[in-house]
Amino acid sequence: MTPEVLVEVSDLNFSYNTRPILKGINMTMKRGQVIAIMGGSGSGKTTLLRLIGGEVVPSSGYVKVSGQVVHQLDRDALFEIRRKMGMLFQFGALFTDLSVFDNVAFQMREHTDLPESMIRDLVLMKLHAVGLRGAHHLMPAELSGGMARRVALARSIALDPMLIMYDEPFTGLDPISLGVIGSLIRRMTDTLGMTSVIVTHDVQESLKIVDYVYFIADGVIAAHGTPAEVRDSVAPFVHQFVHGEVDGPVPFHYPAQSYRRDLNLEKALV
């Protein structure tokens, strides 16, 4: 019996050098869910994905994937669990010495004994899903930023992982491919029963497809809820983020607590 909860983040703290980046994060991600993580630039979203993937070790707290504490695994066990994870890096991170086709085929060739003819079919299917079947012979240098990200998406779903983490998958996409990719993520998650974690700034697009949203600000979870809850939220921070109000009362980087703690404001209120 597979557990219902795939990823459990518990009281997670993390610092780069001595600068705290994440302070006491708690999250649960269930199978079949699409979860969005939102927050300003530099709020630690990418770092959180790295912690889930076991690339960096938390200073306290833990991340459990599939019931196992990621940072306590030895190398072999970590690689074992990573085979079931896909990660779409923020800037694609395509292998520049391999063609688009070979990039998507990379994991199939490394981890499976599939015959080349089957790999070919699988790769073309994955590329078709992101609309780039015709570009399979190009080298990464010949792709635009948005195309590279779509190839990276195809590569991260190559082995049908149980958990996929997307670091800003929508950035640099035109509205059409944005909608297509969004619904692709939703459909894959539903049909394969996987879990998708999307780091994104694209509120409108992601609210259409996700099950749950976490807002990170100043290293803590400033707000969380279902898309309906988020849309109706009166918390100024969430309201401003969701409706994209540039001139909102709160600069969107700051959560409500932090705003109140702001010295100038407190003086003004007194």
Binding site: R82, F89, F91, A93
Partner: protein, 264 residues
């Protein structure tokens, strides 16, 4: 005044420990590469692919330089030897200089600047663009998959390149002295044949080039893997590869020569 002195001594000490620390770091990385070389031999195609980039693409510069170095040796050797009426020994002179010294050393210096810098830049850029991190997230070890094949390709190429350099050099010397100046071809070759010893000269030259191959490629992959993930970081690492390798080649050459030909 006293403070100044203390500070500068502290600086020296600091730099020394830093250097030793870095050396230890490099040694550990080198052992790690050796430890993870299994993949390179199980899937030798990975090494062959790199052999093309590391070895074959270095051929042109090796061939051309070897030819010119041999031609210069022939001219200079002839000039000096004919004063003593022993210009027929010019073949021996050219061959011995190349096989013992210039072949391994100059080929290694060229190899460091042609292939070593390319290896460093490539690995450094793969790191800076998160390709290595992405590979790790795909449960593929970048040291085994990216670093080790390049290392072995360099180690394998170097002796061949040095040999080709020497062969081209002898040919260059032959061109200048026999074809242009008119030294007797028979004595050019026969003197060379009787005076160049396989074990003492050729084998020792080969051993030198193996040492150089390991040193240059180990430095190149370490600098690439260790480089800060930025544009300046990668360019600095590339420069360090060429400078460090060149110094190590010349230093190693002295030590090896002392052991081989003086029998210390």
């Amino acid at each position: 005044m006293f403070k100044h002195l203390a500070a500068s001594i502290r600086g020296v000490g600091h730099r020394t420990t830093e250097g030793i620390w870095q050396l230890g770091h490099a040694t550990r990385f080198f052992l790690l590469v050796l430890l993870k070389s299994g993949t390179s031999f199980r899937r030798f195609g990975l090494v062959i692919r790199e052999l093309y980039y590391v070895g074959v693409l270095s051929l042109i510069i090796i061939v051309v330089s070897g030819l010119f170095v041999g031609m210069v040796l022939g001219l200079q050797g002839y000039e000096t030897l004919q004063k003593y009426g022993s210009e027929s020994a010019v073949g021996t002179l050219v061959a011995l200089s190349l096989v013992r010294e210039l072949g391994p050393v100059v080929a290694a210096l060229l190899f460091a600047s042609r292939a070593g810098s390319a290896i460093t830049a490539e690995i450094g850029l793969m790191k800076a663009t998160e390709q290595l991190a992405a590979m790790g997230m795909m449960a593929v070890d970048p040291v085994a998959r990216v670093v080790a094949p390049r290392f072995w390709a360099g180690v394998i190429s170097m002796p061949f390149l040095a040999a080709i350099f020497s062969v081209m050099g002898v040919f260059g010397g032959y061109l200048v002295t026999v074809t242009f100046i008119g030294v007797d071809a028979g004595s050019f070759w026969s003197q060379m044949q009787s005076n160049v010893d396989f074990r003492i000269d050729i084998l020792n030259g080969f051993i030198k080039s193996c040492f150089f191959g390991v040193a240059v490629t180990a430095i190149a992959v370490f600098e690439g893997y260790d480089s800060p993930p930025t544009a300046e970081g990668v360019s600095g690492a590339t420069t360090r590869t060429v400078v460090t390798s060149s110094l190590v080649i010349l230093g190693l050459d002295f030590i090896l020569t002392a052991f081989m030909f003086r029998g210390i």
